[in-house]
């Protein structure tokens, strides 16, 4: 970038600053940057200061604070919630591999061109249409209550099992669409290059198209995984004591919403870094594929 390349020292218009000579452009950019930083810091300080001073002065703030931000209650229920959150992580952890594998299979099925395998293609299309079109919560209720309700014996009537199955069904449909978009984004010339070497269409898919597709869809895929992590909480509706249900229990016990806020904090601690990471990945991918950014 410009700020790492010192300009030729004998050029007219260069300004001496510190130990390195900066070009006029670099001098200007440095001033500009300093100015922007000062303005941003000042305006942020003013806004935050105003919030801290004026919000507690609003009528009813005491009530709000007691109902949502009760420190004692927060400390009391936090460890219980954290313990319950392990359940969420477990459900997330064992669902994810199934989602990725099934999603990829569905995406490949949808690209199958062999007439004999047309039923697979049809099935994949119908599957993604159905499970993408139905709210996740409905799938969870249907599978989570419905299947154990058929009179299955233990352990096959576990709500953990069927809750996870419901999540896998719904999310593999989303992930299949992501993979499909990735597969279709690989340029036709790659297929031509591979086929001209004598690779079969299956080999071309396996060694040339899919590896490139996966690389491209990692950012949107991570996005879906962050959503999944939150949607695991929906399984609470069919019984398992995970974090949301534990928070509900505590909320009812103390008639106070602080446990919900505590649960939200636990989610945020995980999801905010994750989404930032995804943003960073996407930005990197954009930089890599679209050349220089225009200011």
């Amino acid at each position: 970038m410009t700020d790492t390349v010192p300009g030729p020292s004998d050029r007219p218009g260069t300004v001496t600053s510190g130990r390195k000579k900066l070009t006029r452009r670099q001098e200007f950019e440095r001033r500009q940057k300093r100015r922007s930083a000062t303005i941003a810091a000042t305006s942020t300080a003013i806004v935050v200061g105003a919030l801290v001073i004026f919000v507690p002065l609003t009528p009813g703030w005491d009530k709000v604070r007691k109902s949502f931000f009760d420190g004692e209650l927060f400390n009391d229920s936090f460890p219980r919630l954290l313990e319950a959150f392990v359940k969420n992580l477990q459900i997330f952890a064992w669902s994810t591999p199934f989602i990725l594998v099934i999603g990829m299979l569905l995406a490949i099925f949808r690209n199958v061109r062999t007439p004999a395998l047309f039923p697979l293609r049809l099935f994949a299309a119908a599957y993604t249409d159905v499970f993408r079109g139905v709210p996740v919560i409905l799938t969870i209720l249907l599978i989570g209550f419905g299947v154990p309700g058929l009179g299955l014996d233990r352990p096959y009537n576990s709500p953990y099992l069927w809750g996870s199955v419901a999540l896998v069904l719904a999310y593999s449909a989303y992930v299949a669409e992501v993979f499909r978009a990735g597969i279709e984004s690989v340029h036709e010339s790659q297929r031509a290059g591979a086929r001209s070497l004598g690779l079969s269409s299956t080999q071309t898919m396996r060694h040339v198209i899919v590896p490139q597709a996966i690389r491209r869809v990692i950012p949107p895929l991570m996005n879906d995984m962050v959503s999944l992590q939150k949607d695991v909480a929906l399984v609470s509706l069919i019984g398992p004591i995970e974090i949301l249900r534990q928070a509900g229990i505590d909320k009812s016990k103390f008639a106070n919403f602080t446990p919900y806020v505590a649960a939200a904090v636990i989610f945020l601690v995980l999801t905010i870094p994750e989404t930032r990471f995804v943003d960073w990945l996407s930005a990197r991918e954009r930089r890599r594929t679209s050349g220089t950014a225009v200011r």
Binding site: A192, R195, S196, L197, G198, L199, S200, Q203, H207, V208
Partner: protein, 248 residues
């Protein structure tokens, strides 16, 4: 003697647009034929039809006296005998040079990994790319990428090589290194069909030059005759335009 490759009345349309309107030519073993003509004259489509990337509508593509264009014939075993190099290289960006070269020999011919990589290294050495085996395509110059693409085709030991405007996407100063490789291949006796806009190169390397006009062969002649005493009016007009544009 049986020609290496025969095109017999090859026809190809995209929708209502006729691209190849009955092309016939015999190409001998070890012969190099350059195809020239205006954009849209069907040159590139002709090459894609030869290795069946485009199925032809009618006519025959015959290799070693065997019709390879019979509809329904498995195409993969045929393609491995006919190499193709593209204008835009079409290297696999997620693999390094060595993998680009060894993928098809390993997966299609069942060659062992070590053997495929040895062959690949020898080829790279021959093409002056011995030190780039571990590089990824994006880390190479256009000329190097195109030489890697040629090496990738050669790794399958093709009997016929199709070169589709292989220097069109290159900066002028990089064209030479790629053409050097083609010269070397001709020295080695490779049968080649070359689509090109480099008239000087066509004149130098081709045994015959073939002028395509509106999906038909308007004229085929040895280069000296083709460029100095063309018989066809269309050829004359074409060469006139090429000379005026300063490209020859």
């Amino acid at each position: 003697m049986i020609p290496k490759l025969q095109l017999i009345d090859v026809r190809k349309s995209f929708g209502s647009r006729v691209v190849l309107d009955g092309v016939s030519i015999d190409i001998a073993d070890r012969e190099v034929v350059a195809f020239v003509g205006a954009s849209g004259s069907g040159k590139s489509t002709l090459l894609r039809c030869v290795n069946l990337l485009e199925p032809i509508d009618d006519g025959q593509v015959v290799v070693d006296d065997v019709d390879i264009s019979v509809p329904g014939l498995p195409v993969d075993p045929i393609r491995r005998r006919i190499g193709m190099v593209f204008q835009s290289f079409n290297l696999f960006p997620h693999m390094n040079v060595l993998k680009n070269l060894s993928l098809a020999p390993r997966k299609v011919l069942g060659v062992s990994r070590s053997e495929a990589e040895n062959t690949a290294r020898e080829l790279l050495e021959r093409l002056g790319l011995g030190d780039r085996a571990d590089a990824f395509p994006d880390q190479l110059s256009g000329g190097q990428q195109q030489r890697v693409a040629i090496a990738r085709s050669l790794a399958m030991s093709p009997e016929i090589l199709l070169l589709d405007e292989i220097t069109s996407a290159l900066d002028p100063e990089l064209v030479g290194e790629v053409l050097d490789v083609v010269r070397e291949l001709k020295g080695g006796g490779m049968t080649m069909l070359i689509v090109t806009h480099e008239m000087a190169f066509a004149r130098e390397i081709a045994d015959r030059v073939c002028f395509l006009h509106q999906g038909q062969i308007a004229e085929v002649a040895p280069p000296d005759k083709f460029f100095s005493a063309p018989e066809n009016d269309r050829t004359r007009q074409f060469l006139q335009r090429v000379i005026e544009s300063g490209r020859f």
